[in-house]
Amino acid sequence: GPKVLQIPSHQIIDMGQMVTLNCDPVSNHLYFYWYKQILGQQMEFLVNFYNGKVMEKSKLFKDQFSVERPDGSYFTLKIQPTALEDSAVYFCASSLGGRGLYFGSGTRLTVL
């Protein structure tokens, strides 16, 4: 089936540093998403993105977060600066309209 790739699979950084999470969505998909999942908890929506713009963001999408997808390259989530509470697994997803989301394998972010 369609594959969404996330790079890296794990990232360990010191609090206050910047981190960029990369996502290579399904090639013909138009809508892109980031979700956050803390260990043992439900997955929570962060932001979605279409046609170069943020469509909607949740309260979890703090001012330190930003997303972009320059010219069809990776869809990225940048956190600057990071905080301890940002430690989680971040899932990227993409979709072709309303036909369902395809998720990547996630990036496990550990902020020390």
Binding site: Y33, Q42, G98, F103
Partner: protein
């Protein structure tokens, strides 16, 4: 606004027994409904989707029927397997909107021998 309700946080079953996970929704328009499954330490995967009333999609032995009259999309399987143990999310997205799915809180299914 849209909402999805999964009433059970945890369902525990003996292998071989039937599975039913509840999902009801509220939506202004006619939404698309989905079930996603997330196994431990894995990404969520699309399990089922339904786009028209009273069609019954099936995958891996699971099926769900969209009933607009009761705003429900319950997930069912005739016989639970140990490998079905996972977290199951029901979700909806509206046609013509920004397609952001609204997820339920998830139901954890534990199947034991």
């Amino acid at each position: 606004g849209d909402s999805v309700t999964q009433t059970e946080g945890l369902v525990t079953l003996t292998e071989g027994l039937p599975v039913m996970l509840n999902c009801t929704y509220q939506s202004t328009y006619s939404p698309f409904l989905f079930w996603y499954v997330q196994h431990l330490n894995e990404a969520p995967k699309l399990l089922l989707k339904s786009f028209t009333d009273n069609k019954r999609p099936e995958h891996q032995g699971f099926h769900a029927t969209l009933h607009k009259s009761s705003s429900s999309f319950h997930l069912q399987k005739s016989s639970a397997q140990l490998s079905d143990s996972a977290l199951y999310y029901c979700a909806l997205s509206e046609a013509g909107g920004n397609y952001k799915p609204t997820f339920g809180k998830g139901t954890s299914l534990v199947v034991h021998p």
